[in-house]
């Protein structure tokens, strides 16, 4: 019985650590969103820091409910896989929208002319790589 209690105490600590770690990273992601100088640098903050924050929070929840119910709780895994699959796609779509709207970049951005070339070479309503034959 004591070993079981020990196990429960350990999961308490593990869950607490994971939660704090996750919340800290979500805070850093949003802090980056608020303070970074231009759109393209801001794009990094939510796609990276927030995915790790979410992953950690969901892992904490998975551990907690699995120990509570004595069986593997799978819902969190589905959500985190979904988030990890969609984060790069939405980052790609937003970045693409921004590059075609010629959003200003912070001074000192290297190879900025490459981005201008990327935005010039295709009109807004032309065929894109993801436009399937409709």
């Amino acid at each position: 019985m004591t070993s079981l209690n020990n196990l429960l105490a350990y999961t308490d600590h593990l869950v607490a650590g994971l939660l704090l770690f996750g919340a800290f990273f979500m805070l850093i992601g949003s802090w980056g969103l608020a303070k970074l100088p231009d759109f393209f640098t801001r794009l990094h903050a939510p796609t990276k820091a927030s995915t790790l924050g979410m992953g950690s929070t969901l892992l904490a929840s998975l551990v907690w409910f699995s120990v509570q119910e004595g069986s593997l709780h799978i819902h969190e895994l589905v959500i985190s896989i979904f988030l990890f699959l969609t984060a790069p796609v939405s980052a790609y779509m937003m970045g693409k929208a921004a590059i075609h709207r010629s959003r200003p970049m912070v001074d000192g951005t290297r190879n900025a002319e490459q981005a201008e070339r990327a935005s010039e070479r295709r009109g807004l309503k032309d065929e894109g790589p993801e436009s399937k034959s409709s």
Binding site: F25, I28, G29, W31, G32, K35, L36, P37, D38, F40, T41, L43, H44, A45, T47, K48, A49, T51, L52, G55, I74, H75, L77, V78, F84, L85, A87, P88, V89, A91, Y92, G95, K96, A98, I99, M105, V106, G108, T109, R110, N111, A112, Q114, A115, A118, R121, R122, P129, K132
Partner: protein
């Protein structure tokens, strides 16, 4: 695989996800099987075939390494966010792709977005290059070599292209 079961792996995956979401019981098993059979039949005409996976085991290894890289990259990006803005050296990188199959390229672009301080933003017109925004660009050639070594080579082996 015939008209009744056009995409057997998709059917199995749908059934497994349905059971994971709703719990395992006979009723859910029946409902999941029906949905797993019906949805591929309805969506099959819209799906175009992609390169077959040659080495499933390598794909698993790739996935595990990706998870590790995501954690490391996140710590790196978090450090750069916390430093003052004037230390940032953002830049663009044009990455020349050495493969052209849509599905592996999609995985490569997603991997780049999730890992070290880079977000893939756009393809060039002939889909031979990938435009990548880098949060902290120090050495372009080194970064290109790193991406090629760590992500593109394994993907080419996995999909055999």
């Amino acid at each position: 695989m015939g008209r009744l079961l056009p995409m057997p792996w998709h059917s199995l995956m749908l059934l497994v996800v349905w059971l994971l979401l709703n719990g395992v019981s006979y009723g859910q098993l029946l409902l999941g099987t029906i949905l797993g059979l019906l949805i591929p039949i309805m969506t099959y005409p819209y799906v175009r075939g992609h390169a077959p996976i040659q080495k499933p085991f390598s794909l698993v290894v790739y996935g595990l390494r990706l998870v590790w890289d995501i954690v490391v990259a996140n710590l790196d990006v978090a450090r750069r966010i916390l430093l003052p803005n004037r230390f940032l050296k953002p830049g663009w990188l044009v990455y020349p792709l050495s493969m052209s199959e849509p599905f592996p390229v999609t995985i490569l672009a997603s991997s780049i977005s999730l890992t070290p301080g880079t977000v893939s933003v756009e393809f060039s017109e002939d889909r031979s290059c990938l435009y990548i925004h880098v949060l902290h660009l120090t050495d372009e050639d080194e970064l290109i070599a790193f991406i090629r070594r760590r992500y593109e080579q394994p993907l080419k082996e996995i999909f055999g292209c």
